[in-house]
């Protein structure tokens, strides 16, 4: 089937199908939510003025977050982790990757904010970087753990 999505989706057809389902689910939930809010606004009460930028950001954020969460919890990311050795190796790699990405994140904030002049400024840079590392590793860890569990159930070798 011809679609620009073909360039964004993985080659493996199972993974591809699941991701399309996740995207489809997020779109349906979003459409339902939009319909309910529109109906409430028109027929029941005034919900007030909506900031267009925030509304668009919520739409983007919901689709991205929902699809990503379904993806990591479905255990389809790490398709080749089948034993304890591979699991530990991947976990170590993901930890190093999270630290490295956190460092890049730190540099980017540092460049945007400029050189910190006091302790509070330093916390404003270090704090988000630490949270970035924690969440990145946490999501990778959940995905890895789920994938490993799923793979173990499927193996026969």
């Amino acid at each position: 089937m011809k679609s620009f999505l073909n360039y964004l989706l993985p080659d493996d057809e199972y993974k591809r199908t699941r991701i399309l389902y996740f995207l489809g689910e997020s779109a349906v939930i979003l459409a339902l939510g939009a319909f309910i809010f529109a109906a409430l606004e028109i027929f029941l009460f005034d919900l007030g003025e909506f900031d267009i930028a925030i509304t668009l950001f919520i739409v983007f954020g919901f689709i991205g977050t929902y699809t990503y969460m379904r993806y990591i919890f479905s255990g389809i990311e790490f398709t080749n982790v089948y034993n304890q050795k591979q699991y530990k190796k991947e976990r170590k790699f993901r930890f190093i990757a999270a630290i490295s990405s956190g460092f890049v994140f730190f540099i980017v904030i540092f460049l945007f904010n400029g050189k910190p002049s006091n302790t509070e400024d330093w916390f404003d840079i270090i704090g988000p970087s630490v949270f970035f590392i924690i969440f990145l590793f946490l999501f990778d860890y959940i995905s890895l753990k789920r994938s490993y569990r799923k793979n173990k159930e499927l193996t026969d070798d």
Binding site: N151, L154, D157
Partner: protein, 64 residues
Amino acid sequence: MVNRIKLARMEKGWTQEQLASRVKATRQTIGLIEKGEYNPSLNLCIAICKELGKTLDELFWEGF
């Protein structure tokens, strides 16, 4: 949908990983197909049949 992929694969002496790489799928996908938890597309069925030297009937048809 029944399938006799696992049997045919074992006849060839291949692992799930080996079959997966031959049909350009992941090992997880092959495992899911063998367990009957995922119905592959016709294209993937044909690719699997070709690699295992079997017909669609031999691998997927009920009561064959």
